[in-house]
Point group: C2
Chain length 334, copies 2
């Protein structure tokens, strides 16, 4: 009996909210023979990230996933068979495994993880999520101790890490999230100084109250009106870090753009984007720091795990409905 | 017979295009006695700048001009009487003289100009205009030799200087201006590599053609759709320098904001504003360089001079109808 690779392939460019029908389900026998340099992997966990919506829709910092191609995704798996030097059955690897249960991959771009690595943390705090928070905040935002840092999407995977790192660096941290549960979690368990519930509060007014000297660093995960409210409350020489615009991804139209962008002029401000892939050569710097803080109990990693490859589209949707708190993973059960 | 100070005072906050009726004309006798520290100045030239529209409308990087207050303006005049040490009748001074013929001023913030200074250049290339171009381009935009620099409002006072400085620094320069005359002037007389006439050409398409590797530095004087077109054509790690948004000042509504701002994310770009007043401590650095380049014939200063204080509102309007080429001044004839 040959092994079956189950996969979701991109069937249509998503318009508005991602739908199951944007993908098609395939089951195919895994090839009997591996070419030199190839390995067969059993996927254990998939990383579920807002940027996947962008990969499916259009060319961006990576070329768009082609129609008919397996949906692109970071993930983590175990080597089943190997025709590549240095990779043995049983090794744990992480990288772009895609929405599939038994991919045949070349080893380029894959990372071998030390035996015993907890797979959840490897895809969260020590994965691209933690690195995004670390380099986006510290390298692009450059907060100084005593400054006020505001982060939106604060209960999301990147956002909660940004807030915790800002606290470690001695900043005053205001998080913006949706709903009383998330807000209570940020304030009571993660030590955010203040929280704003964008579902029940006027974000602009609350930012004015909570940041009377203005916002020194605004880490933006959402775009839209919240970005505008932050721009309107920027401190002199304030910095806006563009990490994503989850609020705009599903609108099916071009976002309106930040109407208050001229705050950057009046306040001598800076708005800057970054892509975490550029920081890969410095990954160990972040992982060392994050591991140290985690060991000292200064940073907490929260992961939510959905189960079953068949639920990949629905799990991706969770990110855009604000259902998840912390990092969203999908456990692939073979 | 006492001397008369003629002035324009702000009468109403401008809405849409600046109107004569936004200001009221006053003629008042100049006080016979000066308090200690005061000087009486005869205004010779006023600098006419887009930012004056902003000063009249609302608080920005400076508090708004109050209703009933003399309209704020940079200018240059000759000291008539002095009760301030170091200032003698006949001295040339520049600073915030306002829209008035015979202001009584304190000397704080005024600059004494060396005898014989050509007044037109003092308010243009060696004034805030030249400094704005110099520091905005070099300090905020940081172009490297060989990079592509695009400037909008290129035939305006700041824009044409930006393009010329970028050429001196070894960049490829594309100017965006309105009308064939301005475009020909930029290309044939000032040495711009390429020009785009936004009145007759599709700016986005032309930027794509003329900047196949993308825009490394975009110096924005206009905002609106042209800013959006530039963002859409940003090179990797491109920089957008926000100097002003002349296209938006008179719209009477908040600008829509740059819809393509997420280019900053995908291209790892930076959009940054600045206010030239912050650079005053480094003014001599710019003036020395500009004077050197002017002496070597590498940079040309073009000035248009309107005449008569009574024409101040109409002269300010010229900036927003695209009538001026180079620096607009108003000669105040007593």
């Amino acid at each position: 009996m040959s092994m079956i690779n189950r996969s979701w392939r991109l069937a249509a460019r998503p318009q508005g909210m991602v739908k199951d029908s944007d993908f098609s389900w395939h089951e195919e026998a895994v090839p009997e023979t591996l070419l030199p340099g190839q390995i067969l992997v059993e996927t254990l966990y998939l990383s579920v990230d807002p940027t996947q919506r962008m990969w499916a829709e259009a060319d961006s910092y990576l070329p768009a996933v082609r129609i008919g191609e397996v949906m692109r995704s970071l993930g983590l798996g175990r080597v089943v068979r190997s025709n590549a030097p240095g990779f043995e059955p049983g090794d744990l690897v992480s990288g772009l495994v895609g929405w599939q249960s038994h991919p045949v991959l070349t080893t380029e771009g894959l990372n071998k993880l030390p035996p015993g690595t907890p797979p959840e943390t490897a895809l969260s705090l020590f994965g691209l999520t933690g690195l995004t928070a670390y380099f986006g905040l510290l390298d692009v935002g450059r907060p100084k101790a005593g400054e006020t840092v505001v982060v939106s999407g604060a209960a999301g995977a990147t956002g909660n890490a940004v807030g915790q790192i800002a606290k470690i660096k001695g900043c005053r941290v205001v998080g913006i999230a949706g709903g009383p549960e998330k807000c209570a979690w940020l304030k009571n368990e993660l030590g955010f100084d203040e929280v704003i519930d964008y579902r029940s509060e006027n974000v602009g007014e609350r930012l004015r109250e909570l940041c009377p000297k203005g916002i020194d660093v605004y880490f933006d995960n959402v775009g839209g009106d919240i970005l505008d409210a932050a721009l309107a409350n920027l401190a002199m020489r304030g910095r806006v870090v563009l990490c994503g615009a989850i609020g705009d991804y599903n609108k099916g139209e071009q976002p309106q753009g930040p109407r208050n962008y001229l705050s950057l002029l009046v306040k001598r401000g800076r708005m800057e984007g970054f892509i975490i892939l550029d920081y890969m050569p410095r990954a160990m710097e972040a992982i060392s720091a994050l591991a140290q803080w985690a060991a000292e109990g200064k940073i907490k990693d929260r992961v939510e795990v959905a189960t079953g490859l068949e639920n990949a589209p629905a799990t991706l949707r969770r990110l855009f409905t604000g259902a998840n708190r912390g990092k969203q993973l999908l456990k692939v059960v073979s």
